[in-house]
Structure formats: C-alpha cells, structure tokens
Amino acid sequence: MKNKFLGSSITTLSALSALIIVLAVVVVMGEIMLGGWSTLTWEFLTGAPKEGMTSGGIFPAIFGTFLLVIIMSIIGVPVGTITAIYLSEYASQKSFLARMIRFAVNTLAGVPAIVFGLFGLGFFIQFVGSGIDKTFYGTQLKWGQPNILWASVTMALLTLPVVIVSVEEAIKTVPRELREASLALGATKLQTIWKVVLPNSITGILTGGILAVSRGAGEVAPILFTGAAYFLPHLPTELSDQFMELGYHIYIMSTQSPDVEATRGIQYATTLVLLLLTFGLNFSAIFLRYKLRSRAIR
C-alpha cells in the first residue's frame, strides 16, 4: 500500500514538474505578449525615443542590436568555423594541441557573461584601445573607451563556443565516403574541405551563426560597460561609436528611467521585440538542426 502511494506520487510529481515548466514558459510569454502588444506599433519600431525617453520608439536600440550581432558574426562565425574545421579535420584526437583547444572552448563556454564584460573592458578597451590611442592619437581618446567594436568583439568571444559546437556537429554528419571519394580523385585536403566538407556543412554553419546571434542579441552583461549607451541622439556611424541596444534598453528603462511607471508600455514592448527576435532566431536554428539531423540519419 505504502509502495503504491509512493509510486503514484512519483509519477504525479514528475508530470507536475513538467507541467510547471510548460506553464512557466506560457506565463512569461503570455505576460510579455499581453503587456507589449498594444504599444508595439510600426512607429514604435521605426521611431526614436522622445521626450527624455518617455515616449517614442526604439529604432536606435533595434539598429544597435543588429549592428552588434552583425559585427559579432563577421568576427565570430569565421573563427568558430575554422576552429571546428581544425578540430574535426586537421587535429588528431590525441594531439596535445587539440586537447588544449578543446579544453579552452569548454572553458570559454562556462565563463560568466559579466566576466566577458570585465575582460572586454580590461583587455580590449584599456589595453588594446588605449594602446592604439597612445600610439596613433597622442592624448586623444578614441579607441580607449567603450564602443560598438569592442562590445561586438567581446560578444563574439562569448558566442564562439556556440558556433564551434554547431559547426563541428555539422561537419561530423558529412559522410566519410564523400571525403574519401574526393581524396581518391587526387584532391588535396584543403580542396576536399573547401569543395566537399564545407558545402555539406552549410546548414550547420548557418545554425551556429543563428544560435550565436540569438545568444548575442540576448546577453546584456558583456556590453554593460563595453559599449552600450543609455541614450544617443544619433545612430552609430563608426566602429568607435557607442550604441543603444534592446536588452540594455529594457534594463535601464525598467530600473533607471526617471519615471519607471510611465514607461511600462515601452518596457513591455521592447521586451516583446527582443523576445520575438530571439524566439524567431532560435526557432529557425532548431528547424535547421532538425533538417541536419534527419540527413545524418539517412
């Protein structure tokens, strides 16, 4: 009898836990949707903040976010892809160098986002940026301060493991037979990678890129002090400009805006935009990965 009770409670509890998770997702999504829907207009998406950020739109933040993830991808996706190529095509599994790099990638994946922010500040801004300034600009401060380049590079570093893992997984699904076919025809290793391995890993590279973009668009901690700005009257035009960003906008609007209550609508709608953006990105990544996996099985 006691056993029977234990049994049914285990089953119930586990089902209940699953239900809680699903409900939590629904509640968060629903709340943000309901709260942000009415403010989410075309003008909101395309307009600039007005009247001390108490009204108007969030276009500069959207623009900044896109710029951030684009620069980040330009840096991160090639580096990540090449690293994945090295790990799966060039390195022998036992080689010390390969193990070291693998260890580094795993470690990188576990470093807290805020520590990336610190690193961006300490290395890119204080060391590299200031170094450039000292060498080329004398006393003028140009690169030795937060800007979109340093924020993007920092974010590229944070999302690097995401790209590497995705691409490596994709490269593994390229059948050995295709590689052998190419090599047996007298193709060199590089030709084989370029003409056979990479074209057949495009989906994975894309997935990795999308996942990285989604992650990068959602992380705020690394850009808190490497480039994000509270408010800017102009869109960034140079790599040494600061930028507004969606996640950062949510943070400051909900915690530091002079009249937090009055801007609730803006806060909700901004959150909704960010949520839809990451949701859309993740959804397409999941879809691509699904296609990739089904190919791997076939």
Binding site: A181, S182, L183, A184, L185, G186, T188
Partner: protein, 254 residues
C-alpha cells in the same frame, strides 16, 4: 604466363591497424591492361590490400605499412612521394557508390576542376568522354544538371566510374563495385570493366566467384591477411594448387 608488363609489384607488404596485422608478407605483381580479381572470405584483407595501392590507408589513424609497393618501378611508400599525384594516377571505385550531392556534370567535372581546368569547353569534353567511357552518356546526356543522387544505384556507380576516369588514371581500383546492384546493373558494370581494361589496369575485389571468373584475367586468393594463391583466373578456377583455394571457390567455406 604471358609476356606482359607488370604495372604494380608489391614486396613483403605488411599492414597493421594498431597492433592488429591485416596484411602479411604480400608479394605479387599485377599486369598492365589486365583485370586482376582479389577474392577471399570476409575480413581477409582484400580491401586493405586494395587501399594500400593508392595509400588510402594513410587516412586511417594508427595504421603502419611495411614493405614496398612499386608502381611503374617507383616505390609509392618511399619518402618524397606525392600522394595527391599518386591518387590521380591510381583511381578508386568504392563498394557503396558515393556521388557528391551535386549535379551529374559537377560530379564528373570535379576531378578536372581540382586539377585547375577552368576552360568550359575542355570540361564539357571531358565530362562527355568520361560518361561515354562509363556507358552512362546515353542515359543522362539530356539531364546533366540533375543531381547525381537522383540516379539509380547502377547508374550512380557508373557515375562514380566516370568521375574517376575524368582524372585520367592509369590504374582503377574497384572494391566490390557491383555488390549492391541488381543483375542487370551488374552485367553493365562487368561489360564496362571488360571494355576499360584496354586502356586501364584494373584491380577488382569481389565476393562473387562467377564475376571473378567472367571479368578477370588473373585472380589472387587471400586468406586471413595472407596471399594463398595467385595465378591466371582460368587456372585458379579449374585447377587450383592449394586446397584452401579449392575449398573457397567451390563454396566449401567462407
């Protein structure tokens, strides 16, 4: 034996996968413009031997090769051999047809392209010639843009042969090229082999005794990594000298 050039000579060839020896002291000569069949029970080292002739075993980690393989009197295992050039000279057809997921045209043009051929006319000419040689031209000539994967199994295998021919090899290594095909497709491949031997030296692995008897001039019988008997196919199939060979070809084991 007939008075023929030996194209390939292996001497005391040993091959190890890690500590496991897969080939033991294989010494044999393969004649130019002949078809040589490798037969033997599963796991006896036929594929391994075949792959050692164009150094495809190099791609597997932890392999070690001892002895020599001479092709046109050059030991392909000596230092300074250009493996990429070697593989252009020694083409390979795999058991499972493996066309690239590209068009028929691009599949065949792959080899010339990696050799730096850019001229469209030369490419087209090569593709047509190779497809004709592999007896696929008439079936696909109107549809060269179609994916190679959309072809039937037998057609795919002939596409792979065409792809190998487009590189102008001198030797063709075929690892059970017809094992996954139906009898009609198999017959086509066999016919093709018969035609190709005029210009190419062919080494073929097969599990099908009739096939070996039909297409080959010479036959080598392998057993657990050793070369048991090697002779004219006629001789092997009518009066084998070793008991093991006789047992195998009469189907008494394996």
């Amino acid at each position: 034996m007939e008075n023929k050039n030996t194209k390939i000579i292996t001497k005391q060839l040993n091959l190890f996968y890690g500590s496991k020896q897969a080939l033991k002291n294989i010494s044999l000569g393969i004649f130019e413009h002949k078809v040589t069949a490798l037969i033997g029970p599963s796991g006896c080292g036929k594929s391994t031997f075949l792959r050692s002739l164009n150094r495809m075993n190099d791609l597997i980690e932890n392999t070690r090769t001892e002895g020599t393989v001479e092709i046109d009197n050059v030991n392909i295992y000596q230092n300074g051999i250009d493996v990429v050039e070697l593989r252009k000279k020694v083409g390979m057809i795999f058991q499972k047809s493996n066309p690239f997921p590209k068009s028929i045209y691009e599949n065949v043009a792959y080899g010339p392209r990696i050799n730096g051929v850019k001229d469209k006319d030369i490419l087209e000419e090569t593709v047509e010639r190779s497809l004709k040689q592999s007896a696929l031209w008439d079936e696909v000539k109107d549809d060269l843009k179609k994916s190679g994967l959309a072809l039937s199994g037998g057609q795919q295998q002939r596409l792979c042969i065409a792809r190998a021919l487009a590189v102008n090899p001198e030797i063709l290594l075929m690892d059970e090229p017809a094992s996954a095909l139906d009898p009609i497709a198999t017959a086509k491949i066999e016919e093709l082999i018969y035609e190709l031997k005029e210009n190419y030296t062919i080494v073929i692995v097969t599990h099908n005794m009739q096939q070996a008897a039909r297409v080959s001039d010479y036959t080598a019988f392998f057993y657990i990594g050793e070369l048991i008997e090697y002779d004219l196919t006629k001789t092997i199939f009518t009066m084998p000298k070793k008991k093991q060979t006789e047992d195998y070809i009469t189907g008494r084991f394996g």
